[in-house]
Amino acid sequence: MSLIPGINKVILCLVCCMALTGCVKDIDLDQAEEIGLSPDIDVDLLIYDISEDYFYQSGNNVFQPVIRDTVRLEFLDDDYIQKDLTEVEFYFRHINTFPQRFSHTIKFLSNAGREQILIQYEVAPGSLNNPVETDYTEIIEENRIHLVRNSIQMVIELEAHPNSDEFKGELKFASTGLFKFDF
């Protein structure tokens, strides 16, 4: 029993020391200020699948070599784009069965219609039995990212280059954007 007074003091000291003087070591909570999110978001943009009919004016059936359409991409005006977007990688793909080549133009315009980004490339001719794929990638890095932030309209312009072959086929278009953020 003579050991008991010693034991209880040891226990009390131990519990008190452990519970009341527990410490936090080897960490730096100031690093919390460096915490960021860096998601890379891959999203579909525009698609189309057109035939020769799209190149003839409805009503008078007159051939028009250039067709265009405009899509507003309202999300480009959102806060996360305006503040945190660091890089964009646009990917465009055509699969062509027309025996003609096409000039494809993509313009990103501001709300006022001012051109910010111009992308132009040629779509290679194919044939009904041999669809030809054309891929094109445009990377907008940080030094040009303000151009994406200024944009809100995407204009697609397609110019056909007729030749001696029959103007008949199908042209499929796919496009995606890889948006890199640093929140």
């Binding site: 008991i4 034991i7 209880n8 226990i11 009390l12 131990l14 519990v15 008190c16 452990m18 519970a19 003087t21 527990g22 410490c23 936090v24 070591k25 080897d26 960490i27 730096d28 909570l29 690093q31 919390a32 460096e34 915490i35 960021g36 999110l37 860096s38 998601p39 890379d40 978001i41 891959d42 999203v43 579909d44 943009l45 525009l46 698609i47 189309y48 699948d49 057109i50 799209y54 067709i67 265009r68 359409d69 405009t70 899509v71 507003r72 991409l73 309202e74 990917y91 793909r93 697609i156 499929k172 796919a174 496009s175 995606t176 890889l178 953020f181």
Partner: protein, 469 residues
Amino acid sequence: MRCWLLIPFLFCFSLLSAQNKPLLYNVDDLPQSLLLNPGAQIDFIGHIGLPFFSQIHFSAGTSGISLHDIFRNHGTNINTRIKEAMHSMTSYDHFTANEQVEIISLGWQLDKRNYLSTGIYQELDFFSYFPKDLAILVNEGNANYINDVFDFSQAAFTGEILTVYHLGLNHRFDQRLTVGVRGKLYSGIFNAESTGNTGTFTTITTPQGPNKYRHIVDNMDVQVNTSGFASLNEEEDMTVEEGTAELLKRSFFGGNVGVGLDLGLSYLVTEQFVASASVQDIGVMFQREDVESYHYYGSYQTDGLEPLFPELDETGRAIPYWDEFEDEVDRNLIDRTYNEPYITWRPAKFNLAIEYGFGQAFLPCNYLKVNEVRFMNQIGMNLAGVLRPRGFVYAFTTYWDKKLTEKQRFRIAHTFDDYSLANFGLMYSVTFNKFNLYLAANNLLGFRNLAKARSTSVQLGMQMVFKDL
């Protein structure tokens, strides 16, 4: 001596974890043992807790990472460490925090068989599984996870702050069996929960499709229920005093209410073996006041916007492709806010324990029978569990309980749980005249550097405990 009784406890529970108080369970001279097991054997005839100080309990744990894993002051960039931690954890890893403060605690012996105890305590309880898929999606995006499924069902959490009013009766049937019951009234201060969510988000490659990818939200059904949150959130000009007054009002049944029950028993299998079991907080909360729920549901898939060529419609106006896309998304992925009452279940807990006493002593250990033969030492095992959204979370504790004198005792415990395999705890209780002071802490090794500890738990309190000496 019937050691076979111990074998199932030793070998059946290898994957265990929980938020519990094994250091106070079945401590027969602490009134707090009645909160863990209303049918506990006790050796006092009355108690009065020092208001707000009879029990202060705090516990916190993370099963997957520690503070040190993220914030260590050397090595890689913190964002790299966060990314690594996210990948090392699973959707079954969880974060938990629990706090209890006894506001009032008292009890007295009604007769030789019955002990009545009552009181009020305030409790905060938070539990969340790690929503791994969603965390990775937010942190890294989908670009590197094409064809991988992001599962919304991983998002599950519960959080509540409430005041508990309780009244319990401890009844001794005979020399072997003691049973107890405790009724509880809950007064909710705050609640937020999101459980039972479903749905997935996937970006798949579509080699034969119209675009390179297809984005699919499938069968999404995510709901977050809150009570006691909307009014505080809306009152932008609320002062601290007004906020405190509002919370105090809710503490006294000014907000949401509920009822609950604790049950427990102790049984002397032999003179040396005591088996006990209890369930706590079999209870329900009726969330009716200041309720706001957010519900997101539906399915949708897209390959992108499709311009029609030409760009003008029949009326000569530009076709609003984006507006049409947004309308279509809104029709299919629906976002609703409700103010409907809802029901929540309290996180029910259970304890199963067996104790073996040795080192016989003649102590006035039981308020029903003075000078009963008891033991100076007890070794015991306790399996505890708490019901969380995906089932019970367990902890298995073995302990040695030693009475040093009539006034002093300690308990050394080791707990297996999700947080640590080396969770050693220590409880010390001392009584000066009738004034009792106790202090208990789990995961003592973790106290050397709490940043590395995945869990910690502390209980302390002081009270007057009366014994029939």
